[in-house]
Symmetry: C2
Subunit: 188 residues, 2 copies
């Protein structure tokens, strides 16, 4: 089973080391990990297209090849997960692949939003939290926007949340390993 | 042609009025607009599942029925678009649908990130912007994470950006109408 390793891990100072750590954990459980920056045989760098478009095409090809995705959904520059990762989650769900996710921040979506909004958050007449521009804060006791939790649920996956020290937010792989172990069990 | 109207518009104080405005603009160009909160004949509210899961299932059903998506990608609580909307963009791209997007903030992704990060942003030895946790800021001169711009590009769509007064950020539909007009032309 091939698993696409989605996440903002590609923005780390040393993404290659993270790719190797994640791939090793996958291999230890009998899975083949595919990291976004891995070369794709049918998608060598194309001189005639902009680099970002070539990266997009390579990532799409990796996803179509994979049987499952494990997404790093740790909140990234705001209350929600990284936008590129969330796009890939929706993409994999639409293709009917297995979808799993993890976050190194355990708090629910509402308290994370309230922490982000600070004093601009207020309750409306119905008691619903709204931001300074009157946009509601989604409140279902979930980990992120319901499309994320829902996609994982409908795809038969799990969303593992676990607090780690802030300095280890982008490197701790305990929650990731729980996803790997679960996926290995599901694929047997 | 049926077009799914994705966006954080569902969080407005009066999403129904926005649904009607968007649907009217679609109808004026010969398109059928589907707003997320619209009822779906095969997905009436299910008493036996949590409300968020029923909403997820209804939205998926709406997307599978649609031929295209026009996504409101205006930055939402951070430098990127709303997570639920981005999920739906990836979902629609994977299904091979036409994908269009718009934003009522014209600035590129990098200046938006720098504005968000403030003094925690700094350049690394290679001159690349990084946040306070050493995570790189993606810099391709795009509107958002490259998966978003790339998905729209590969699906043959457009990403319309246009500045509006801040008070009209969630209600101005000029950029949306440009998408509607483009989609109508593409579908002829």
């Amino acid at each position: 089973m091939k698993v696409y390793l989605a996440g903002p891990d590609v923005f780390l100072p040393d993404p290659i080391t993270m790719a190797e750590r994640k791939r090793s954990l996958c291999a230890a459980h009998g899975l083949t990990g595919i990291f976004p920056v891995d070369a794709h045989p049918q998608h060598p760098e194309e001189a005639e297209v902009p680099r970002w478009l070539w990266i997009y095409r390579r990532n799409e090809a990796h996803m179509r090849d994979a049987d499952a995705v494990i997404a790093n959904l740790t909140p990234f520059r705001g209350p929600s997960a990284d936008a590129g990762t969330v796009y890939e989650l929706g993409f994999m769900r639409a293709l009917g692949k297995l979808v799993l996710g993890y976050s190194n921040v355990a708090a629910d979506f509402v308290p994370r939003n309230l922490g982000f909004l600070g004093r601009s958050a207020r309750r409306d007449a119905e008691g619903r939290w709204r931001d300074g521009m009157d946009m509601a804060v989604e409140d279902f006791g979930l980990a992120d926007n319901l499309m994320i939790d829902g996609g994982i649920k409908e795809a038969g996956g799990i969303f593992v949340r676990r607090d780690v020290p802030e300095s280890a937010r982008w490197t701790d792989l305990a929650a990731f390993e729980t996803c790997v172990r679960t996926l290995a069990a599901l694929s047997r």
